[in-house]
C-alpha cells in the first residue's frame, strides 16, 4: 500500500528557472523507513518540502505529480493542504536551535497543532502533551510544558520537536537531517526514539541524510540523489553493499576505513608535550561580582612524537577544541606546562614554536580572509621565513597550490571556490612553511562525504610527505579510525582513556569510549538493522 508517491518531480528557482530537482520519482509504503541520501546541492531537502507544499518562496514546483495518502496534491486548496499537514504528514527539522519558536512556551507550541486538528478539551490536550513528553524521555514533563525553548540543549529541543510532531500521529514523518547538529551520543538517542515512536504509531519515515551509517542502521530502502537527479534506488542493503551506479559506489567508498597499521614511534623526546594542562574561562564580570568560571580543560597530560597523528575524540563540551587552541598558545592557560622540543614554552610564546606550529580550522568559510586572493593567503605564512626572495616565495606558493590540486587558482577569491577547495587552501596555508606540528580541528566535518574522503586522503599524503605531527580533533570516529596512530578520548575536560588506535577501537576500556563507539553510525556488514527487525 503506497502512502506517498512522487512522480517526475521538477523544482526550479522561480526567478532564474535554474533546475533544483529534475525528474525524481519515488514512493513510500505504509510503515516503511526510506532514506533519501545526497550531498549538498542534491535537492533532497527541496524534494521533501515539496511533499509538504512548503517550498521556500524562491523555489517553485514546475512539474510532476505528488500523491499523498490517495490525494493528488495538485488539486488541493491551501485550506485542504493545511488539514493534511500535521495529521497526515509531519516534519522534523535540522537545526534544533531555530526550529522552535523562542517566544512561545513549549506546551503552547505542542498544543497548537493538536488544537487545530482535533476537537479536544484543554485538559485532554495537556494530558496528551505531557504523555508525549514523557514518551520522548524528557525528565520533567510538567516543568518542560511551561518552559521556553531557550532553556533546553539542542538534543532536548530535538526531542521536544519530535514530540510535538508525533503528537498528531502523522502517517508520514519527514525528518530532514534531524541529528546532524547533535553529537554522536545524542544523535543515537534521538534517532532511536524517533524509530520507536514511528513503529508505535505505524508512521512511515522519510529520513533525509548524508550519513550512510544511519541508512545502514535504520532504513529499509534508500534513494540516492545527486545535483537534483535520481542516481539509484533500492533496498538499503543493495545500495550500501552492491551499488550499481558509479556515484553510489563513490559515496560508499568515501566512508573512512581503517588505514594501514602504523607502529607507534619509539624512543626519543616527544615533539610536543603537555603536563597537567588546565584552561579555565573566567565567569562574566558583573557590576559587583564575577560569575563562577568554568574549567574547559582540567589537568591533561599528553605527548606527541614527531610525525605522529594523535586523535582527540569526545562529545561537545568535552574540551577537545579548547585543548587544541591551548596547545598552540592561542588562549591563555591557567595551569600546567607545555614543552616543545624539550623547551618549556608555557610562560613566554616561543617564536620557534609559533613558526613551527599550525592550525587547520573546521569551517572553511570563515577561516579564509574574504578580502585576500588565494595566492596571497597561501603566501602569507612565508612572510616570516627569513631571506626569502619574492620569486622563490611565488614558486613555493605555486608548488603548494599544485600539491593540493589547485594549480592556477592563485588569483581567485575565496568566495569563488567550493567548500572542499577552500579547505584545501586552508591546508596549503598550514603546510606551506613546513611546520613540525599541526592541530587540525574537525578539518573535514563541514564538508560533503565525497569531499571529506578526498581531503582526508590529501591530508594523509601531505603528512607522509612532510612528516609533521598532528593533533587531529574530531567527533567523527570513522575519520579518526582512518588517520590516527593514537587516540585520546576526552570527557568533561579530562582524558578518560588513551591508547593506540587499534587498542581503543578494538578493546575500549572506559564506559564513555564504549558508548561513543556503540553510537557511531558505521556500516553494519552483518546486514541492516531494519532488515533484521522485519524479518
Amino acid at each position: 500500500m503506497t502512502l506517498l508517491s512522487v512522480e517526475n518531480l521538477r523544482i526550479e528557482v522561480a526567478a532564474s528557472k535554474a533546475v533544483i530537482v529534475e525528474d525524481v520519482s519515488f514512493a513510500v509504503e505504509r510503515g516503511e523507513f526510506l532514506a533519501v541520501v545526497g550531498e549538498s546541492g542534491s535537492g533532497k531537502t527541496a524534494a521533501a518540502r515539496a511533499v509538504l507544499g512548503l517550498l521556500p518562496p524562491e523555489l517553485r514546483k514546475a512539474g510532476g505529480r505528488i500523491v499523498l495518502d490517495g490525494v493528488d496534491l495538485a488539486g488541493v486548496s491551501a485550506r485542504q493542504m493545511r488539514t493534511l499537514r500535521g495529521p497526515t504528514v509531519g516534519m522534523v527539522f535540522q537545526e534544533p536551535m531555530v526550529s522552535l519558536n523562542p517566544a512561545i512556551s513549549v506546551g503552547a507550541q505542542m498544543a497548537e497543532g493538536l488544537g487545530l486538528h482535533e476537537r479536544l478539551g484543554k485538559r485532554e490536550i495537556k494530558r496528551r502533551c505531557l504523555d508525549m513528553l514523557a514518551r520522548v524521555q524528557i525528565r520533567d514533563p510538567q516543568r518542560t510544558f511551561d518552559a521556553y525553548p531557550h532553556e533546553f540543549s539542542g538534543g532536548m529541543r530535538q526531542r521536544i520537536m519530535l514530540a510535538s510532531v508525533m503528537l498528531l500521529k502523522p502517517k508520514l514523518l519527514i525528518a530532514d537531517e534531524p541529528t546532524t547538529a547533535l553529537d554522536t551520543l545524542t544523535q543515537r538517542e534521538v534517532l532511536d526514539l524517533m524509530v520507536g515512536l514511528a513503529r508505535d504509531h505505524g508512521t512511515s519515515v522519510m529520513l533525509i541524510t548524508h550519513n550512510l551509517g544511519l541508512v545502514s542502521r535504520y532504513a529499509q530502502r534508500a534513494l540516492v540523489l545527486r545535483q537534483g537527479n535520481m542516481v539509484e534506488t533500492g533496498t538499503s542493503r543493495q545500495i550500501l553493499f552492491a551499488p550499481r551506479e558509479a556515484y553510489t559506489k563513490r559515496l560508499v567508498e568515501a566512508l573512512p576505513r581503517r588505514g594501514a597499521t602504523t607502529k607507534p614511534r619509539q624512543g626519543g623526546e616527544p615533539l610536543v608535550s603537555v603536563r597537567g594542562l588546565k584552561v579555565g574561562f573566567a565567569g562574566r564580570q558583573r557590576l559587583f561580582r564575577r560569575d563562577a568560571g568554568v574549567s574547559a580543560v582540567n589537568g591533561v597530560d599528553l605527548e606527541i612524537a614527531a610525525g605522529e597523528t594523535v586523535a582527540v575524540v569526545g562529545g561537545s563540551g568535552s574540551g577537545k577544541t579548547t585543548l587544541g587552541r591551548a596547545m598552540l598558545r592561542l588562549i591563555p592557560i591557567s595551569g600546567g606546562e607545555i614543552r616543545f622540543r624539550g623547551r618549556d614554552v608555557t610562560a613566554t610564546m616561543d617564536r620557534d614554536f609559533r613558526l613551527a606550529s599550525q592550525l587547520v580550522f573546521q569551517d572553511p568559510y570563515s577561516s579564509l580572509d574574504p578580502r585576500m586572493r588565494v595566492g596571497e593567503i597561501v603566501a602569507e605564512p612565508l612572510r616570516h621565513v627569513p631571506q626569502l626572495a619574492a620569486a622563490e616565495r611565488d614558486r613555493r606558493v605555486e608548488a603548494m597550490l599544485d600539491e593540493v590540486g589547485l594549480a592556477g587558482l592563485a588569483a581567485r577569491w575565496p568566495h569563488e571556490l567550493s567548500g572542499g577547495q577552500r579547505q584545501r587552501i586552508a591546508i596549503a596555508r598550514a603546510i606551506v612553511r613546513q611546520p613540525a606540528f599541526v592541530v587540525a580541528d574537525e578539518p573535514v566535518s563541514a564538508l560533503d562525504m565525497t569531499i571529506q574522503a578526498q581531503v582526508l586522503k590529501l591530508f594523509e599524503r601531505l603528512q607522509a610527505q612532510y612528516g609533521f605531527a598532528c593533533l587531529f580533533i574530531s567527533h567523527d570516529l570513522a575519520a579518526v579510525e582512518q588517520v590516527a596512530n593514537r587516540v585520546v578520548v576526552m570527557q568533561g575536560g579530562q582524558i578518560v582513556e588513551q591508547g593506540t588506535r587499534d587498542e581503543i577501537f578494538d578493546h575500549p576500556q572506559h564506559d564513555y569510549t564504549k558508548a561513543l563507539l556503540a553510537a557511531a553510525p558505521v556500516l553494519d556488514f552483518a546486514g541492516t538493522a531494519a532488515e533484521r527487525a522485519s524479518g
Binding site: S357, L359, S366, S367
Partner: protein
Amino acid sequence: MRANTAIGGTLIALLLGAAVTGAFWTPFDPLRINLRARLQAPSPVHWLGTDEFGRDVLSRIMVGAGASVVIAFVTVLLAVAAGMVIGCVAGYIRGWADRIIMAVNDALLAFPGILLALAVMIVVGANKVGLILALGLAYIPSVVRVVRGTVLSIREKEYVEASRVIGNSEVYSMIRHVMPNAIAPVAVLATSMFGWVLLAESALSFLGLGVPPPAPTWGNMLAASRPFMETAAWLSIAPGLCIALTLLGINLLGDSLRDRLDPRMAHG
C-alpha cells in the same frame, strides 16, 4: 533592486551637478537684492520664482546645494575618520580603556544627536565651521559604536586567528585582516549618515541656528518662506523638494549598498 541604484544614482548625480555648477555659474547673482522683482511666481525668466528680496530662487537653490554637499561631506568625513580611530582603538585594546571609551560614548549616544549639535552650536556660534564641528561631534559616537562592534566581531573570526597562528603580530593582523573587512559596514553607515547630516543641517538652518543669512541654504530658505506661505507657496516648495529628493537618493543608494555589501545588517 537595480532600480534603487539607478534612481538613487540619478538623484545624487543631479545634486552634485547642481552643486558644482552653482559654484561657478548661476542664472542670477544669488545674493543680489532687487525689490522691484520681489515674490515673483515661477516664470521663463525666474524658473523657480523670486523671494521676498527679489533674489532668484533657482540660483539660491544651486548655491545652497553646494553648501549642503560641502557641509555634509566634510562632516561625514570628520565623524568617520574620528570614529574609525576611536572605535578601532577601543576594539583593539579592550579592557578598561575600552570600557571608559564606551561609557562616554554610550552617554553621548544616550542624547539625541541634534540636541548635542545644538549645544555645540551655542558654544561655537552659528556658522559653517561651527555647524560642521557640531554635527561631526554629534555623529562620532554612532561611528565609534559600529566600528568597535565590527572590529570585535571580526577579531573573533577564524581567519584572524589563522593570522595569529602564522606568527603575525596583533597590529599587523589588525591592519591586514581586521580593518579591510570593517570597511563595508562603515561605508553603509557613512552613506546613511550623509543623509542624516544633510537633514540635521537643514533643520538647524531652519531654526536659525545654522548657516546665517544672506548665504543661502535649503534650510534657511525654507525658514524664510514661512511668512509668505499664503502669497508665495513656491518659496516653501522648492527648497523642501530639493531636500526630500536628495534624501530619497541617498536612502535608495544606501539600500542598494547595504544589499550588496551586507545583506544582513539591520536597518536602524
